[in-house]
Structure formats: structure tokens, C-alpha cells
């Protein structure tokens, strides 16, 4: 019998075991991918690429022996982090997602021009990607981002609530929309107090849509501020009347984008304006009290302009960029190329992504399962951003929203608020 206990560890034994173990690990097969691609995006950009068996990047990972690591943020913090990373001497992030109202000349300079990559290793049928979206990612003639997602705004309505109030068809003009929204401000059979329409007050999208329904705008592509002030006044007057009549909820000033989704899902509002891509979420059986009853149409133009000009709804597009200070740009380009392929675009569209390729809308496997695909494609043809990018755009939007809120809540005359927008935003455009 030995006196040695099995739990006794000698220094020699410990060192020998440690060295042997390290040698085995070094000689053995590697379980992790050889390369890592760091992506900075919104969570939605990651989820639309699927997981598990539906992972659209599964083959790409294997072919390139690379893993994709996602760091996700909400929209504004995402842009802030991306620009912060791109302004350092070096960054670990290989690919970032940028929204199309941010790339000014100064911002664009922080990202790799992609024209040369496109020439050297072309993206499959690049001409199929909507030219308007590509234009949004082109600054001073240099392509800095590849469009990957668009969010085109549509008018959503709860068909069940419309029927409950005896309304047989959704509105075809803005005036009809206002009338129906007023009628739909009631207490439903379920006992829920319903607001005719719910809109977030912290986004320029909504007041701009109302102004565009009268042929106006906030800042157009030519950087003209309030090109038709009367149209903006008409749009804001309608919003104000809706608020006064209760068709916009009392909590309008604190309503957020996410509230719009939950209000519609719970039958607390009859109408809202959201990207068409929200269709599936709004009709999700597990989340919505009205699955299959929430429909979407194009936001209607005013009666005076109906048939004379198309409604220009708002579209927000996202693109993939490569920070100029990042490493392994070839791998970044390979990732962008894969995500932009027809296959991935179609796959992402089926997962709720606004497809940037025209051909995706024609694909039967997508169109058959997406009741709003046809209307979305039609709206997209005339859609454009809420305002073009310029250095003080965020401040201009903040001023615009401040004046809009004052007008809608009745704290300022509409005419006075529009005049104030013109006076306060003009110096920012000149700067």
C-alpha cells in the first residue's frame, strides 16, 4: 500500500500535466472559425438573416472559414457608435449599417469608397438594386454603402374596427382618412377605448407625410426648406384638428414608435403609419388581438391632388459600409456581397426585411406569402426620404418636431409654427 494520496499534487506533476494539455490543444483540431467579422448594426439587421437551419449565412461562414459577431444598438446610438469607431485610428468593426439620411460629405469620408470593390468583384446583378436607394448611398459621386434594407411607410388599419363602425372600405383620400379616424374614436364592443389614429411625435416622418399629401415638404432633395409652406400648414392643421377631436390620443406628445405597434395590436387605435415590413408583426397571432385583420395601403393623398400627382411616401433605407480604418476589408466586401445577393435578399424579405432588389417583389414565393408586397412595391416607386442628409440635419429635425408639437397641441398657431420652422432651420441649412 502506498502512502501517497491520489489528491496530492506535486509541482512536477502539475507542470507536466499543464504542458502536456497545452501541447494536445495546440496539436488538436481547431473548433472555432479562423476569422472573425465584426458587424455593427441594429438587431433587426441580424434577425432577418435567420438562425439555425434558416441561417442565410451558413454557407458563407463555411466557405470563408469566418464567424460573424454582431454588436447591435437602437438606430441613433448605432449611428453614434459607428461614427465614433470610424473616427478612431483603427477599429475592430469590419462592417457597419448606416441609415441614408446620415452620410454627409464629412461622414462619407470616414468610410471606404466601394466603387473599386464593385468593379473588381461585382455584386450579383447590381442593377437590380433600386437605383434610388443606391443614390442615397452615393456622396459626391462615390459609392460608400450598399443598400440592404428599406422601410417604406404605409397606412395600416384595423379592418375589424372599421367594420364595427360600419366603414366598408379604407380611405382613398386624406380627407376621408381624417373623417374615418374621427368616426373610429369610440369605445369598441370589447370595451376598449379606441383612438382613430396613433402616431409617434418624435419622428419627422408623420408630419412630413401629411404635408406631402398636400404637395408640400419639410426639406426636399434640392435642399429647399418648406417649398410649399401652405401645404405644411394644411397638414399641421389637420393633425391639430385630429388631436382636438380626440382622434389622436391625449398622450400624442409622449407616444413612441413602439407604442404605435402595441396600440394597433391591442385594438387601441384604428389607423397608424408604419413601414410595410411591420405587417407580419402586427398580424402575429401571439402578439396581436387582431391577427389577419390588420391591413395596409398606401398613405392617401389629399382630394385636391388625387389623380394629378402620385403620393410621395417616406422611405428610409439602410446600407452596409466598411469603415476606412478597419482591417481585412476584402472579407468585409465578401460579407456585403453575400448579404446583397439575390438569394439572401429574398431570404431576408421573407423574414420581414424591406427588399432592396426589384426582382424580389416579382418572386412568387415572396409575393404569395406577403399580402403587402405589391402595394409596397408600388409605393416604393414614388417614395423618398423625409429629408436629405446635411451636417445639421438632426438639429433641424429636432426644431421641426418642436414646432410641430407646439402646433398640434394648440400651444402655437399653425401659421406661426410654420414661419418659425422657416426662420430657425434656415441658418442650419446655410451652415
Amino acid at each position: 500500500m502506498s502512502d501517497k494520496s491520489l489528491t496530492n499534487i506535486t509541482r512536477r506533476g502539475f507542470l507536466g500535466t499543464a504542458m502536456g494539455g497545452a501541447a494536445m490543444l495546440a496539436a488538436g483540431p481547431s473548433f472555432a472559425a479562423g476569422k472573425t467579422l465584426n458587424v455593427l448594426s441594429h438587431k433587426v439587421h441580424q434577425t432577418v438573416l435567420g438562425t439555425g437551419d434558416g441561417d442565410l449565412l451558413k454557407d458563407w461562414r463555411a466557405t470563408n472559414d469566418a464567424d460573424v459577431v454582431w454588436t447591435t444598438f437602437d438606430s441613433n446610438p448605432l449611428q453614434d457608435r459607428l461614427f465614433r469607431e470610424a473616427s478612431l485610428s483603427a477599429t475592430d468593426f469590419n462592417v457597419g449599417y448606416i441609415v441614408d439620411n446620415r452620410p454627409t460629405k464629412q461622414i462619407a469620408a470616414m468610410f471606404e469608397p466601394l466603387d473599386a470593390y464593385l468593379k473588381k468583384d461585382a455584386i450579383e446583378d447590381f442593377g437590380d438594386i433600386a437605383p434610388g436607394l443606391v443614390q442615397g448611398m452615393t456622396v459626391d459621386g462615390r459609392l460608400i454603402g450598399i443598400p440592404v434594407r428599406h422601410a417604406t411607410q404605409g397606412l395600416f388599419y384595423n379592418e375589424a374596427l372599421l367594420e364595427e363602425q360600419g366603414i366598408t372600405a379604407p380611405p382613398t383620400t386624406l380627407e376621408e382618412l381624417v373623417e374615418q379616424a374621427q368616426k373610429l374614436t369610440f369605445t369598441s364592443k370589447a370595451g376598449t377605448p379606441v383612438a382613430g389614429m396613433v402616431l409617434a411625435s418624435d419622428l419627422a416622418v408623420f408630419p412630413v407625410m401629411f404635408a406631402r399629401a398636400f404637395g408640400g415638404d419639410f426639406i426636399n432633395a434640392k435642399f429647399e426648406l418648406l417649398p410649399n409652406p401652405e401645404a405644411m400648414e394644411k397638414g399641421l392643421t389637420i393633425l391639430r384638428k385630429m388631436f382636438e377631436g380626440g382622434a389622436l390620443p391625449r398622450s400624442y406628445a409622449t407616444t413612441k414608435n413602439d407604442d404605435q405597434v402595441t396600440w394597433l395590436q391591442q385594438g387601441r387605435a384604428a389607423f397608424t403609419v408604419l413601414p410595410f415590413a411591420r405587417f407580419a408583426q402586427l398580424n402575429n397571432k401571439e402578439q396581436s388581438k387582431y391577427p389577419g385583420k390588420i391591413k395596409a395601403i398606401e398613405f392617401p393623398i389629399s382630394a385636391g391632388l388625387k389623380g394629378k400627382m402620385p403620393m410621395s411616401s417616406i422611405v428610409e433605407a439602410w446600407g452596409m459600409v466598411i469603415p476606412a480604418n478597419s482591417k481585412d476589408k476584402d472579407l468585409s466586401w465578401k460579407f456585403i456581397k453575400e448579404v446583397s445577393s439575390k438569394r439572401a435578399t429574398l431570404g431576408m424579405a421573407k423574414n420581414g426585411n424591406g427588399p432592396v432588389r426589384v426582382s424580389t417583389y416579382a418572386d412568387q414565393s415572396f409575393a404569395a406569402n406577403s399580402p403587402v408586397a405589391a402595394v409596397e412595391a408600388a409605393v416604393l416607386k414614388n417614395a423618398r426620404g423625409a429629408f436629405p442628409p446635411f451636417p445639421e440635419a438632426a438639429r433641424a429635425q429636432s426644431i421641426f418636431l418642436e414646432e410641430v408639437q407646439l402646433a398640434v397641441l394648440g400651444r402655437k398657431e399653425v401659421k406661426e409654427a410654420v414661419a418659425s420652422i422657416a426662420t430657425r432651420v434656415k441658418p442650419l441649412l446655410q451652415a
Binding site: P249, S251, A253, T254
Partner: protein, 289 residues
């Protein structure tokens, strides 16, 4: 001399830490406040222009006014409540342990959760508290429409969140007062109010000043309650200085004005708390003799 060289390596990590996380960043913020800076462009020297721009901005002045109002209202009301509760607990309450947990609970709640909870409770359309107030025939807190109501709501929320801090400081200080003093006062013919005025308040003085000073500093940088509740709206009417700073830095990417705002914030909070700082110094000096 030898002793100093022996001690320096032990002190160095602390000095390095303070230098790297407080002193150097502070100087950097001073430097930044004298420059115009944003993403994608090199910083250009503008002198005191950023300070002038901030101090003449009506939105900043409104934010400063709102902050001072919340600080004065919330901190003093919180102190009165905290003091009252500390005295109540010290006087002997049934189920004291359970009640203590209940009073301290808000401090364990995340600010984000607290705001989400309050938003739901006070929702103007479906909030249970709003429904109860309406049922009782009382006016509702119209915080999503009326800026003054929103400020009251923010004030109440910040009091609810931070009351445990003030309470625990005052309660601990009250428990430290020897019972003999109250007994002596009673023998000398002091009534309860006299004992409170002549014994409790003077002996709680240092604790009150410390609680006030901390709460002044915390309350001046109030952010999450406002940002999550109203985002400074409607129409920037409930904005506070920290929200103004956040907007400048992270929404408008104007780092120069954001840095200037930060320094103005430091100076304003010091100015506001000056009286209490002097009081504390006097008390510390008094205790030293």
C-alpha cells in the same frame, strides 16, 4: 526621503487611476469645450464661443430652470419625508423589518423599470392610477400634455426612487443618538417637540447636510427619469440640463457645445450647493476642535 520612495509605488496605482479617469478626461473636456468638433472633421479652436452659444440658447436656459426647480422641489421634499420616516421608525413601529424592506425596495428597482411602471400606472388613457383618480372625482395628472404636470410627475418619481438613500442616512444617524440625551431632556421638562428641536435636529445636522449635498449632486444630473418619461417633451418643455447635454453630444454630435454644457453643469451644481458645502466645512472644522 527614503520613506517617500518606499511609499510612492504603493500610492501610484491610486494616483494613476485618479489621473486617468478624472483629471485627464476633465482637462480633455475643457479643451473640447473651446473647440468646434463633430464626426468626420478636425476640431477647430473657437475660444469661449461654445459657452456663449449654450448660455444664450433659450432651450438651455429652460432646461436649467427645470433642473433647478426639480432639484429644489424634489430634494427638500425628499428630505422632509426621509426625516419623518426615520423618526417614525426610530420611535418604534410594529413589523419594523418588513416595513424597512418595503421602504428600501425602490432603491433596488432599475430606473428603466421604474419609469416603465410609472408610465403605465399614470397612462392618461388606461392607467390604473388615472382611473382611480377619475373615479374619486380628482383631477388626473396630465403629464403627457401639460409640462407642469410632467415636471411634477418627474419630481415625484425621483423622490420615490431616491427616498431610501436619504432615509437610510438619516435613520442611521438618528439611531446613533444616545437615548440618555432624550431622557435628560425629558427630566429637564422638554416636550417632544422641544426634544426634536433641541436634541434631534442639532445632532442630525451633519447627516442632513451630507444627505442634502449628495442628493443635490445626484438630482442636478437627473437624466433617465426625464429621458424615459417624456424625452424632454412636449416640445422640449420638460428638458433638464443632462438631457440637453445628451442631445448636443449624441443626437446633434456637437461635442464642443456638449463639453461646454458639462462644465456649466458642474459650476451650476457647485453654486447651488455652495451653502451646504460651507455648512459641512464648518461642521467638520467644529468637530476637529
Amino acid at each position: 526621503m527614503n520613506k517617500i520612495t518606499e511609499v510612492v509605488p504603493f500610492l501610484a496605482p491610486v494616483q494613476i487611476l485618479i489621473l486617468s479617469v478624472i483629471v485627464i478626461p476633465s482637462f480633455y473636456v475643457v479643451w473640447l469645450s473651446l473647440h468646434a468638433s463633430s464626426f468626420g472633421q478636425s476640431a477647430t479652436f473657437v475660444g469661449l464661443q461654445n459657452y456663449i452659444k449654450v448660455l444664450t440658447d433659450p432651450a438651455f436656459l429652460l432646461a436649467l430652470g427645470n433642473t433647478v426647480l426639480i432639484v429644489i422641489f424634489a430634494v427638500h421634499l425628499e428630505l422632509a419625508l426621509g426625516l419623518g420616516m426615520a423618526l417614525l421608525f426610530a420611535s418604534g413601529l410594529p413589523c419594523r423589518r418588513v416595513l424597512l424592506v418595503a421602504v428600501l425596495a425602490p432603491y433596488a428597482v432599475s430606473e428603466v423599470i421604474a419609469v416603465a411602471m410609472w408610465r403605465f400606472l399614470f397612462d392618461p388613457d388606461v392607467g390604473p392610477v388615472t382611473a382611480m383618480l377619475t373615479w374619486l372625482g380628482l383631477p388626473m395628472l396630465d403629464w403627457s400634455f401639460e409640462p407642469s404636470h410632467a415636471l411634477i410627475m418627474i419630481g415625484l418619481l425621483t423622490i420615490w426612487l431616491h427616498l431610501p438613500f436619504t432615509f437610510i442616512i438619516l435613520y442611521a444617524a438618528r439611531l446613533a443618538i444616545p437615548k440618555d440625551l432624550y431622557e435628560a431632556a425629558r427630566i429637564d421638562g422638554a416636550k417632544p417637540f422641544d426634544a426634536f428641536r433641541r436634541v434631534t435636529i442639532p445632532l442630525l445636522g451633519p447627516a442632513i447636510v451630507v444627505a442634502l449635498l449628495f442628493r443635490y449632486i445626484f438630482a442636478f444630473r437627473i437624466f433617465s427619469e426625464v429621458w424615459l418619461m417624456t424625452q424632454g417633451g412636449p416640445a422640449r418643455s420638460t428638458e433638464v440640463v443632462a438631457v440637453y447635454l445628451y442631445q448636443e453630444a449624441f443626437s446633434f454630435n456637437a461635442f464642443g457645445t456638449a463639453a461646454a454644457t458639462a462644465w456649466i453643469m458642474v459650476l451650476a451644481s457647485l453654486l447651488l450647493a455652495t451653502g451646504y458645502v460651507f455648512l459641512l466645512r464648518k461642521q467638520v472644522a467644529g468637530n476637529a476642535h
